[in-house]
Subunit: 247 residues, 8 copies
């Protein structure tokens, strides 16, 4: 119930068009219904832009197809993450205006090409094996309307490669650094720049990498000050970077 | 804002004693203020009975003393858990009507001696070392007005001791079983009765007991169906048993 | 050996129909044989109602079919949990009076439709991915004769959805809250009501959710007082809620 | 060596004032000396503002005193974190213009009172026990020149308290949410707003909280999209929020 | 080189049939060659009886077949553990004198039926799901010539079943108790008898059983004094029980 | 109630000296009372010998003193484990016939010097730091009447020291091997002998030894077949070895 | 940019052939470009020899084939690790000069047969199941031009087998010891020799071996002084041993 | 028994000076006694140089003093690690020729100042808090006669500091890199040089550093190829580097 509706209701009471008891009944459920409508409107504006994102994992191809079709009927842009290759290929056929990115395992239809953030978001990856997570972040960042750059395979074992691209690093407004194994790259990048750096550990590695736990712990203990997301959560980092970039 | 107040406000609007805008302003914050007052009143009745419980850990003696004094001025019963021996002795001197239980590390003043629950709560412990946690549960259960029984040192390594007290076990309405080390007693009790059994692991043990983790995991994996609380959380189990006993 | 049988035996001894030695031999094994028959009868009444529940995991289709057929010959209601889709479909064909629920992975035949508990049990889930575990709890709760309600997809990331259903929450006698990922919903619900809240963590999540460990730990550390079951143990929570609801 | 210096050196070579070999010697060490001076200047501007922060843990009182005295001779503002009460009292006596905050365990001298960030940073805490970590974040945020607000003791077990302060929440540009035990508050806040939310787990809790690990894991698995810092790292979160607030 | 050979060599030296240097060369490698022959002969007697045991995991069907064939040519009894059903069926066809036990996943040929140990070994299992590990222990115990008894499905959730078989328990010389989930049965059995009890945790369980870790930890922390083997190591427990039974 | 008492009771019934109802009342509690008296007598014989052992940890000096005094009045031998140096010194003064062993942290009075086991128990330690746990095992083994030998500081980093004592190793009937750090010694010993080897991990080590967890895991995964006890549980191993040695 | 180029550039400036601004532009990127060319040349010489090693895991057969073909066109030797049997067979057909080692899961083409290290590297394995990791180390060591020996299946459970090969052990310059399960062999070897011993834990084992974690922890806590690599990282150990052997 | 002694014994047999039986008795214990004398002599040469190292942790001041005094009587150099400040001060007084290093917690007397290794060992530390572990490595490296350099406080958060000291890095023969928190520095250094890099994680950090576990895991998963030692094991790394440097 929006503010306008409350005012109108009170006017009806004031004018005797509504009895006190009728108004009371309508107001009784106000606290909770109202919550999403009135109080947190700034949030809703943003969520509106993001609500077309579907987490594809655990959904069947037909479930995904139904959702995409329903949204396309409203001409909404849409992003589906964690889409299997099979589902991606089928979506490509059914919705020719869309794109399936095999690395990122994302399918998206994006017709609104306007840039909404104030600067650019840079997505970095330590190794080539980390690229799928980095690409998920890249697709999501682009989908949310950010100018987005990529700088891949610049891990700390060959630190000179990193320095060859200082310009790109200096130009970003937010940096997302994706790394598996020992997860050291975000620390190095975080020590080089004075802008927010977001670390995303990946499950890349074997043995004592424990499915990304090592990279996660390393980033949480970084002597640089970086913020951290869950293992393989490229999408989350891009969402968060978008919130910063729109400030 | 209670329902009565809302009705009155609407009547004022209806009678023209309050303008629409004034009423709107008062209603604007309704959702959240109202939440605690109106909607969850059943909860409040109970919380009222429990809100005098203070978690003493991390509080100085003078902080605890101030709280107890303030509540005594309103003639409220009070329970303070996790009270050090030093603080307990000082509270005993300052508030002679209260009792400090060294094992349970609890101080309480209880003048309302009425029994509120429908049946009795039985507190069992596996070993003598588990008694402090069991006693915390016992004090809390009593404080909340439950008829409460105790059956200590009946661990599975001497299973015959357990069977010598079947009557006590059969008469309970809810059973709290406190156990450290391998945490097996709740499984055995849970297999013997048809009433809710609540397991509380303790940090008693050494080496691979990992501060109670082993007992906790054992209870969570019980082949009997028992519900589990955090390590050493005797108070929580008693609170939960109270909720059941008052149903 | 029931009490009656013991009395009869003693009478035979008293009348000289049985020698002391014969009676002694029969009594020698009394302690343990007797245990299940006499002493814990209240439990047996309940277990009787529950003993038709079969844990399907690790059993072949033909094993399950044999058990179901045997029980049907005695006209017993039956619930089989953790049944694969293949087995479920075959059971559906063989036992047309039964129902296989794909989400819950449960097959059941329930002809006794009487309500046995005193209030209603509410099953809540945080996300749509948690529904399979919630449905296992729902099917089991229903099967045990409880009035059972459902409230799904009301996780803390959209807390306003939760508040839109306060009535349902307030009407329950016991609430089971199923949640994966950060497992926060039981804490919020536990803080809103004054009745027993049971948390069931699910294995839903990825990366640092560690197969449900994160949700489990979060529930055990809840600042609300909730009791906790093993990861994905929807059945256990329903069994426990049934014990409470029948008190 | 700044760009200007390089240009001047080249001009000297061009004019014959410097020999090739002399210039070569000076340039030889350019790559690394230069790194900190020229290339990452945006960073340095910020670091300049932050380099007066001293991590006090593991340093003796006299070591801390020496550092503070040296910086005061240059009239620099200074913040020392993780300072024991003993050291804090001594610093208070030696440097009367400074302030020691017992909760935050921080000592600071701040004469530059200008506001540098664009909006306000809100520091929230779930429980009263989490306040030390929240205060560390508060002191640091203030020290870095941010308008900073506080909202403490609004944990999810009494969710209505949170909603009573929606205005404060809506007005922030960045929110830091500090929580121990089950670490659920950041998820709830993250679901309510459309701005960056930073979670800081605390080591508050006992038993299966494992020194903050549970809260940390919960935040990493949040179904809201929040970024996470190390356990008890209030300072790091404030530093990161400052970077965002200055964008 | 056996003692006899050393003596003979010395005699050859003494008689001048062998030069000092020749003898020295032969003795040079004595320390290590000798180790297995002379010094630890008691062990060898036993190992001789056990050396025909093959760990089948990771070996191809043809590798296993080759080993079995080679040993059969020497008329040796043989036990192969961890054999897949496919391999087992093939072995059954190729070696009709052998037996493949599907539950235990063991194939064995045993023609020496003499009993070698002094008493009987009792194998107990808590649940029906633990039977494969129990059967591995059973087959191995039998294969090593022990009188072996079985008592399955006597877990602590129905403790009365355990007591119905006290005779069997009292007659054993060594007891192996196999249990998954909370692993409580060995504690109960260990508290009932005055003979060595060996606990074998199984990987049976789900969620917080962590592949048998919970049962393992529970057994290690038993308040009864039991010795523990690795998860699912039924063979190891039987080997160890055999060592005891032959004393 | 012993067997004799049951027979007498039946005779009284047979002779009419006791009514059926009176006998029934006496028999009603038979199952559980009887359990400890009749059924598990073999156990009791052993327990009798062991029941004078007191776990001293967590008990005050006066509590320990009271127990020792009470037992001495019955002329019972007694062993108290985990006794602090302070308590040990006081016990030495109060009970001059007793001995306090500082390394083992055990106090014992032993007047019955008869040897009860059939062979000797050998206690080995890997390093000098493991001696306290080894000594606890040694004292307990001796106290239970076993011929007991010691072989300390023969860890795998200097494997030749181990081989210099093969005679001692070959003569034992049971071997207890105590080792911290990497816990490798039991594997080596287990591979050398054909008798039961019991591994006791110690909490000796630092860093990734995790308080003995590494040694514990190493022993559980031994390629030799050894049985394992909890970290630092020298007493348990000695108790178990005693059970074997008395067979 | 090499030193010579910098000197030449300065000479051009000195002679007026290059303007200051042109020179400045060329020097601007010096720090980072230079890094890889000038400063760490010793490293590059070695990396040159090793850069043909491809980590095959996660790469498709056609990706691997493309890389191998490209390198063969430059006549470079090549090693691909972690190659599936399918890919290996295909590579064997396409590149007949190469070899696929099934155990090691490595494919390599090696035409430069010169020996580059100063001594020999010995690869030891504890069990036959550890051979795949040992063979990866063996192939890599050979590929890098080291004289390489093998000594397999000499685990601590049969320590005499180890001593039968002391000559081989004494002749090595570096020893790599590969072991799963309890990971004890490197400790024993490390105690026997005065040269660098490198431990490689393997994921071989079951239950509480936790995928190699136990072996890893054991090696890290070795009372001998050995250096440790990640679980199953045979290649890394060989690379590291090569660095030592070339010193 | 050395080779010479064996030869002599055989000659005595050959000459009839010793009977076969006498010689046999002497040879019987040969395998194990011989082990330390003959077979592993290269090792002994080194161990001789190292055997004066005492691990001080857990030893009383008087125990340490006794050992030092005994060794000084033989004029042996000596190093005691993990010495408390109190013990260190006392040793300084008693042995004026020795030095106690407070940071390293080491006491040593070193009169043999000859350099034994072929190159220099460089000890690096990431932060100032890691210096105690680095200093332990430094003292040990020096004590073993290596030319040893130090480069402290060059962690990855300020990567430019590292590059300012490339010369030092390039000149080393072996590098030990000590780092806590995220443990990233060894990866960066390992990627820069072509010589053996040894990583030593430290227990420095808080929260999710878990006492050095994070740094340890990071180093084990390094994308550079480095070898790793236990947490805080500066001495072990220095010993290992010495073995390499003496090759």
């Amino acid at each position: 119930m929006t503010d306008d509706k409350i005012r109108k209701l009170l006017e009806h009471v004031s004018h005797g068009d509504t009895t006190v008891e009728e108004a009371y009944e309508k107001l009784k459920d106000l606290p909770f219904e109202d919550l999403s409508h009135t109080k947190i409107d700034h949030h809703r504006v943003l969520r509106k832009g993001l609500q077309e994102v579907i987490f594809g994992e655990g959904k069947s191809i037909s479930q995904i197809t139904d959702i995409v079709r329903a949204m396309r009927e409203k001409d909404l842009d849409i992003l589906v993450t964690r889409v299997s290759k099979e589902a991606g290929n089928e979506l490509n056929v059914l919705f020719p205006s869309g794109t399936y990115n095999t690395d990122a395992r994302c399918f998206y239809i994006k017709e609104d090409l306007s840039i909404k953030g104030k600067g650019s978001i840079l997505i970095m990856s330590a190794g080539t094996s980390d690229i799928p997570v980095a690409e998920e972040a890249y697709i999501a960042s682009m989908f949310f309307g950010n100018k987005t750059e990529r700088l891949y395979d610049v891990g700390v074992a060959g630190i000179h490669r990193l320095f060859q691209h200082l310009d790109l690093i200096k130009e970003a407004r937010v940096i997302i650094v994706v790394a598996g194994m020992e997860g050291a790259l975000p620390s190095v990048v975080g020590g080089m720049v004075g802008i927010p750096v977001i670390g995303v550990p990946t499950s890349i590695g074997y043995g004592a990498s424990f499915g990304g736990l090592t990279a996660l712990l390393a980033m949480l203990n970084s002597c640089s000050t970086i913020s951290v997301f869950n293992i393989d959560n490229g999408f989350g980092a891009a969402y968060f970077a978008t919130l910063i970039n729109r400030l």
